[in-house]
């Protein structure tokens, strides 16, 4: 059994009274594309910085490929980071930026230029080596940052909100490219994001952070289909959270449930389904679908109606059904 790429054992990072990271356990497998997802201030970025070595834990142990790294400075760790603002050195050319790590290692000028050019072609920026970062677009800078990190052949690549500064179209394109790059290189990727679509689209596994703790770790399907807590259900994909009292009112089995909006059907459904009557309270147009908040008296459910189904106005009666299998029991 090989040791995990990154292992956290009860790792804490407290800033005075603020528990940025609080007793986090974590194991990231070698070659995994791992996402740390959470709202801002949830501790995900601090965790990334703990792996990079920019922060030191106030408690617990961190291992990278089986080696303890507490007290090891960033420049002696086999990890490299792609920064949120890319952090390209403005006074160096693109090629010099990419070759920086090799220059520090003492690689001679010719071989490092060669390696830099190789890396630039890997990120599809051949011929850009002699430009300055200021002459590049946001997407190109991001690729340079990626090349600059990868040239050092890190065991783990850390990405801090890698796509946050890009516009939607570029973001979707880069998601695909990052994924295929990771697949080709076989390097462990750990990336931090607050965007659940990004995490679900790219990661092999997702850790959801809240208030300095990991609340759930699992495959994107597990996180999305079977959230364990109210927080995960709400943060990832905005599921309906049905409290025990509401469950009783709606004729659901006893317990705390989450229910994905897209699993609620219009009309009667099959024999097993739970049928409900309500009124459309708010209809939000979203292009391919409409998001409808249905008022059920004491409770509200959000459902999604695909485009093409006849529109209904606010205040109109809605008959809906919830398949029993769509209900996910949560812990609280």
């Amino acid at each position: 059994m090989t040791s995990p790429a990154v292992r956290f054992d009860k790792v804490s990072r407290h800033f005075g009274p603020v528990k940025a990271v609080d007793e986090v356990d974590l194991a990231i497998a070698p070659g995994e594309f791992f996402a740390m997802l959470g709202p801002s201030g949830s501790g995900k970025t601090t965790c990334l910085r703990l792996i990079a070595g920019f922060e030191q834990p106030t408690g617990g142990a961190i291992e990278i490929f089986g080696e303890h790294v507490e007290g090891v400075p960033p420049y002696r760790r086999a990890v490299n980071t792609v920064f949120q603002d890319y952090a390209l050195f403005p006074h160096m050319t693109v090629a010099e930026n990419v070759a920086y790590g090799l220059r520090i290692k003492g690689v001679d000028k010719r071989s490092r230029r060669l390696r830099a050019d190789e890396m630039l072609s890997l990120v599809k920026l051949s011929g850009y080596g002699d430009r300055k970062p200021a002459q590049l677009s946001g997407g190109q800078r991001q690729r340079v940052a990626l090349a600059r990190a990868l040239v050092n052949e890190p065991k783990v690549l850390l990405l801090d909100e890698p796509l946050g500064a890009l516009d939607l179209k570029l973001r979707e394109q880069m998601q695909g490219e990052l994924k295929s790059l990771q697949h080709r290189l076989g390097i462990t990727f750990v990336f931090v994001t607050h965007d659940q679509t990004e995490a679900l689209a790219m990661a092999d596994r997702v850790a959801v952070f809240n208030e300095g703790r990991i609340v759930q770790v699992g495959s994107p399907e597990e996180i999305y289909e079977r959230p364990r807590t109210r927080f995960v259900a709400d943060f990832v994909g905005g599921a309906n959270v049905i409290e025990p009292a509401a469950a009783a009112r709606l004729g659901l089995p006893e317990g705390l449930w989450s229910l994905r909006p897209e699993k609620i059907a219009l009309g009667g459904g099959d024999g097993e389904a739970i049928r409900l009557q309500g009124r459309a309270q708010e209809v939000q147009y979203q292009g391919a679908q409409r998001r409808v908040t249905v008022d059920l008296g004491a409770d509200r459910l959000v459902m999604v109606v695909p485009a093409g189904v006849a529109n209904f106005g606010e205040g109109e009666p809605v008959a809906l059904s919830v398949p029993a299998a769509a209900l996910n029991r949560m812990e609280g």
């Binding site: 990079a52 420049y75 050195f89 403005p90 920086y100």
Partner: protein
């Protein structure tokens, strides 16, 4: 109506600039005057002999040498201390940070005479005799400020993740300073250094209190004004001082033009 107002404004602005800079033209003019006792206008004749006379005067060379040495060493001292202070104060937050920042910048706001008197009494209390180094110390107080102001402005605009990126890529603190921090500061330090040199080179007030019997070039000029003869020689030296201080200030302006951080250049 607006055309007229604009013309009037131009006229006023022109008059203001003329008032500021015309005296400089007179300095240059009188450097060539044949009249050596008074500032007679127009000069009765023109000659370049005062440049030759100035060249021969040993006291001028001595004063010039002292001024250049003081300015160079004060600037070097300011570059090191100003950069270190900027590095410490640019991004960190600690108790008393604002107070320290104010204390560093204070000498440039303080009247030179106050700095001069306080330094003089401090030297007297500590029983330090006047020397080359007392002048350097006096000048360093305000030279540090211009270097600090330039460096701190640049550091504040430099992304903190640059330093982390460098360390992430394998560079230790020293390598990071050498390959990332210093190159980013270079133009602002050059600008700050040149301003510091220019400030030190023509400083009179603080120098009078810290020089003792030594004569820097500006002090030499001040004493020379009282002498009845060879007045144009002083003007020749003044022209030289103008050139020496004007060029670095102009260069500093161009170096930091697009970054707008030549700060504290107004002593």
């Amino acid at each position: 109506m607006s055309e007229r107002a604009s013309f009037l404004l131009k006229l006023m602005a022109g008059a203001g600039l003329l008032f500021l800079h015309l005296p400089l033209a007179f300095i240059v003019l009188y450097a060539f005057s044949t009249e050596e006792k008074s500032y007679q206008f127009p000069p009765p004749g023109y000659t370049t002999r005062w440049f030759a006379v100035a060249w021969e005067r040993q006291d001028i060379w001595a004063a010039l040498t002292l001024s250049v040495q003081v300015a160079l060493i004060a600037t070097a001292l300011a570059l090191v201390l100003g950069t270190l202070a900027a590095g410490a104060l640019a991004r960190t937050r600690f108790f008393g940070r604002e107070a320290i920042s104010l204390l560093i910048v204070l000498p440039i706001a303080l009247p030179g005479i106050v700095t001069g008197i306080s330094l003089r009494s401090a030297f007297a209390i500590a029983d330090i005799p006047f020397s080359f180094w007392t002048i350097v110390l006096g000048h360093a107080t305000f030279c540090i400020v211009v270097v600090y102001n330039n460096a701190v402005a640049r550091l504040r605009r430099t992304s903190p993740s640059l330093i982390e990126a460098s360390m992430d890529l394998g560079a230790d603190s020293f390598q990071t300073f050498r390959h990332v921090v210093l190159p980013n500061l270079a133009t602002s330090l050059l600008a700050g250094g040149m301003l510091a040199f220019a400030l030190s080179f023509d400083e009179v007030i603080v120098t009078t209190f810290t020089a003792g019997q030594q004569t820097t070039l500006p002090i030499w000029m001040l004493t020379e004004l009282i002498r009845p003869r060879q007045r144009p020689v002083t003007n020749v030296v003044a022209v030289f001082v103008m050139a020496v201080t004007f060029i670095p200030i102009l260069a500093a302006y161009y170096l930091t033009r697009d970054t707008a951080d030549v700060a504290g250049s107004g002593k």
